[in-house]
Symmetry: D3
Subunit: 250 residues, 6 copies
Amino acid sequence: MMLSLSTWCDVEAYLERSRSILLPIGSMEQHGPTGLIGTDALCPQIIAEAAAAEEDDILVGPTFNVGCAQHHLGFPGSITLRPSTMIAAMQDWCASLRRHGFERIYWLNGHGGNVATISAAFAEVYAERSLSGPDSEIPPLTMRQRNWWELSGVMATCQRLHPTNDGSHATASEVAVTYAAYPEQQRRVPLEPRVAPNGSFTDAEDYRSRFPDGRIGSDPSQATVEGGQEIIDAAAKALRDDYRRFAAGG
Amino acid sequence: MMLSLSTWCDVEAYLERSRSILLPIGSMEQHGPTGLIGTDALCPQIIAEAAAAEEDDILVGPTFNVGCAQHHLGFPGSITLRPSTMIAAMQDWCASLRRHGFERIYWLNGHGGNVATISAAFAEVYAERSLSGPDSEIPPLTMRQRNWWELSGVMATCQRLHPTNDGSHATASEVAVTYAAYPEQQRRVPLEPRVAPNGSFTDAEDYRSRFPDGRIGSDPSQATVEGGQEIIDAAAKALRDDYRRFAAGG
Amino acid sequence: MMLSLSTWCDVEAYLERSRSILLPIGSMEQHGPTGLIGTDALCPQIIAEAAAAEEDDILVGPTFNVGCAQHHLGFPGSITLRPSTMIAAMQDWCASLRRHGFERIYWLNGHGGNVATISAAFAEVYAERSLSGPDSEIPPLTMRQRNWWELSGVMATCQRLHPTNDGSHATASEVAVTYAAYPEQQRRVPLEPRVAPNGSFTDAEDYRSRFPDGRIGSDPSQATVEGGQEIIDAAAKALRDDYRRFAAGG
Amino acid sequence: MMLSLSTWCDVEAYLERSRSILLPIGSMEQHGPTGLIGTDALCPQIIAEAAAAEEDDILVGPTFNVGCAQHHLGFPGSITLRPSTMIAAMQDWCASLRRHGFERIYWLNGHGGNVATISAAFAEVYAERSLSGPDSEIPPLTMRQRNWWELSGVMATCQRLHPTNDGSHATASEVAVTYAAYPEQQRRVPLEPRVAPNGSFTDAEDYRSRFPDGRIGSDPSQATVEGGQEIIDAAAKALRDDYRRFAAGG
Amino acid sequence: MMLSLSTWCDVEAYLERSRSILLPIGSMEQHGPTGLIGTDALCPQIIAEAAAAEEDDILVGPTFNVGCAQHHLGFPGSITLRPSTMIAAMQDWCASLRRHGFERIYWLNGHGGNVATISAAFAEVYAERSLSGPDSEIPPLTMRQRNWWELSGVMATCQRLHPTNDGSHATASEVAVTYAAYPEQQRRVPLEPRVAPNGSFTDAEDYRSRFPDGRIGSDPSQATVEGGQEIIDAAAKALRDDYRRFAAGG
Amino acid sequence: MMLSLSTWCDVEAYLERSRSILLPIGSMEQHGPTGLIGTDALCPQIIAEAAAAEEDDILVGPTFNVGCAQHHLGFPGSITLRPSTMIAAMQDWCASLRRHGFERIYWLNGHGGNVATISAAFAEVYAERSLSGPDSEIPPLTMRQRNWWELSGVMATCQRLHPTNDGSHATASEVAVTYAAYPEQQRRVPLEPRVAPNGSFTDAEDYRSRFPDGRIGSDPSQATVEGGQEIIDAAAKALRDDYRRFAAGG
């Protein structure tokens, strides 16, 4: 059940049977010469939609589609929020949902660079209640963040498909997921070097100087539509299980 | 050309021929018993995609999908940003795009409640440069906001389709646009009263007490897939023209 | 009754009979070679004082005298708040007044460039209560903004006095209002061209390049003390009516 | 020369001969049963206008009329900014003036409760340049705050007029200044006790419990129009001297 | 009793007998060629520890060790908070302590440049409760700031030890206090001139140009370990008395 | 070399040979019935001082002593910053140090709950430069955070000393480190149960309900002064190596 395609009456009925919601969260940032800028927002959205397609009791909210991508700003098209802005926006989303009676929010994340700021936003939200004392009038909220590639069984699938050089940015696996959903967007241009270098980075200028075409450690030319679909299927299944446990208070 | 489905190399090439970008901006809020919560984000996104489908030189960025909806919080599923958060987020988007060399940003808006805050955000962005003086190192930026229903010829189409009671929230026209794009999401439940009351409002509690099912002045039971498609076609055509003039400096 | 010239005991007594207050809000910005920098703050203040002079039950608060004027910073003397600062300041004013039991705030605005940010500030204030839920401890507040030139009958007076080229910035009408209140401040310097150009603008540099002497579309040499007084009289009368209806919950 | 009654051309000409500006800054807060709520904003404004009336090279900007008055919120009509808001607003005023080439800003203060936050705002403004390093592109700014009662000779006048019980809030002297400017606003109600108690305070509730009618240590029944005029004259003269030295770099 | 060396059970027991806490607050900034960068944080910490060593019912919290030092940024090693950041941080400390039932916070300050911002932060904290009305759920808090050199008898000791040229920054007295605590850190380099100039300042560049080695008005070569110990003893004794009165509600 | 015990001249000389600085960062929060509230700030400070004692070219700045501890607010004495405040404060520290020419900042962290917000703060700092474009005037900065227990060889030492039940909050190892530095602060009270439960948590109320005495998974009764000293020695040695590599650009 997609929130954006539901009516408020649908949500009212849903809240009778569940107090949980799933929010895909990603980024809008370069993914090398063959990966799509929307990759990190698309992957959790694709997987969440696949999971919800076969399970009535997953409510999928809007995708938080621009995240922490300051290090990618050396590549045209990347868009970032400053972490402090991202925290403020996530607070507003949480406060809105809490107002309706939602008690558990599951953030399905598609971008490693978001992990820290998502955790910081959780602490910011929890702090409101923690600071207002034991008799706080603010209802409690339980949040989880889960990177889609850490869902049970997904990494194994990715490693089976791309035993080497899946990489850490513009990975073969994430590119495959987007190709499966948008096969007409496949790019088959030569990558030079085929396997991108590894390393760490600081700001956008530093990043671009170390990773000239944007990839880190990956060879996304391995990505196929079929492989992507396998990953989506594995992830959607694992997500249903993980979300169900979360919604049940686990 | 959709930014989220492009590579950074695509955007680099695009910037050689254009310095403009189109950003759909909407809201996630109740639209009555038959309208979808995503309506205000979906409409500009649908129209922008339709326009871009037939025109290479329109780059459509990610949809700013949660906006100013505090007055709808009395209805489950509505999500709001506080205006100050929305301004901060829009600033970050603009700063990111300006960094890449974009000089003109066209915000296609789908929510009346966003209009004021979008304008305030423009002033916030312009103020950075205005305050830093005539020799500012901040490159200039030109922004426009356009409500899709104000595109040339669109209102005429809407009025022809729904000569009475199109309304002002959960309008027959906007509901029709989403039904055209998501025909399986049509809802045909009785509306009581058929035509919703009109009026103004303050906060969420006030809104809900005045407009019990969420609609204002509308009879969205008039919405049809065919009518929605007519509106999309008219809007997409007008958008291409309007955007082209904007991109040309007009 | 002017708040700044009242004692707290006066206000305490006033609150026994009314829960409404009127706040003039304007800007400190250039108004061409013959218009005063304070014009947009002075006009609503002059009109509010005139209205209150003949009506005991209008409490006129302090003038919010610096507003959104980033686009005028190319002209010496203009002062702006960033919209985010203006929202924060208006929030504090509202929170203070709500604390005393005021339930309705009528903002009489004198500056077109403030309209969007005032609306955004309203949404920011309403959002506090909307987000805190149906059992919120925050008392409700009802706000209205009214541009003085939109008060009933005022535009007709302005058009009768200046049938052509009243303009949209440094208008003959607003200049006339300030001349009526400060006749010794009349400026009679030649304007070149007599009627200023029309158009839109972005930031301060852009504004100054398009409107070299600061005026937009206006010929303020038409402004007279007598005409200004007519406008004040018409506006004060209409304001009394409008405010009375507002205070009565209309 | 009053900024609000000047044109931008006047200010442009003024900047040829001076780079300094004077800004009255006060508060909107209760001043006991006989003092006006606007007292702290009115006093510096009255004195500044008197000084400028006899001296061409004093440019008096708009009055910053709402300040730090949280402790007075127990009395109807008091309005406060939070200190963080006040700092942000003062930053914007300073940035606007610096943009025009102003190099020295003289804040004439009328409210003891503002002193700390004004100093904090100065540090906030200076910090921008201090943090941006020795080659900063931000032009330097020099600011001074002066309480009007500390101008040379003023305290002596006040003590001569009210040798005892001038007090520290709702003082006989400040009430006298406002009575001189607004003689029709004199209030002659019995004060009980005639001399208010002294002491310190924390928040609004604490303040009201300690100072039931709002005054601290004062007997404002001593205030007269004639005495007020003497204070204004002494203060205006001292202000001209002090401002002249400041404008000359002293 | 040092908070950082206590367990939560210790604090729970302490709260049974006292609702007050002492927080040293200072700065990290240059103190001339012979003074330590930590001087302003060390002095209140040293004195507070000395006081607490002989009195069970003083709970000394962590030192707020970086304050308002923008004017010292021309000298390597100085670190500043912007005042707005300092206010936010102090708010969080206060909110945390209030949550535990602390009702009185005594800030022992070591830096003149902090005084204004500490006061502003107090007003910010008090404003939360003042704005939320007479039935506020926020418990009241009482705060005091005390500069250690203003404790009863301390200034007399300083003047006896350094009858001339104690100065106002990098004073002989504060340097002596740190030398007493860290005798191995004594610096005996020639100061040129021996007595530093006096004056005022704005930002870091201005400060450094006026006070080339960082000192203001002082001759810290007078500082001795023995003198420092005398000051510590006098201050610790006075602090115990002052804090005891404060904790008792005085 | 401790910054707080250095003069600005010392730092100026240091900057001739190094552009790096080490900042201990921790928290002020409960550590069970036998652990000290300052544990997480003390550990990195103790280890950093030990490392610097034998290495001239480590400059240790002030300890960032209050961090993200919202979840511990159910236990008296815990103090938290909201993550957004912590980001702002870290930004100011970084901006100050960058102003002096520091190019590399090594944050030695003592609190798992800080990790996310430290990373978010890094992104906030980097974003300033990334958003200002390739010709940014902001000098680059390289930052690293390192948890002291992850320094090479430290975990092995901890596991040798406490092969079971070191735990994850109020660990035997961190308690041992503080006992080694403050042997007089050893607490030997019975823990019930001896080994604390494991699990996750959200806000303060949730935390306290799951972990009644504050510990998670640990048996800190194993902590000894001797063991603590071993850990300090191992960590100090590893820190010297790690910092040296970092300072050398590694």
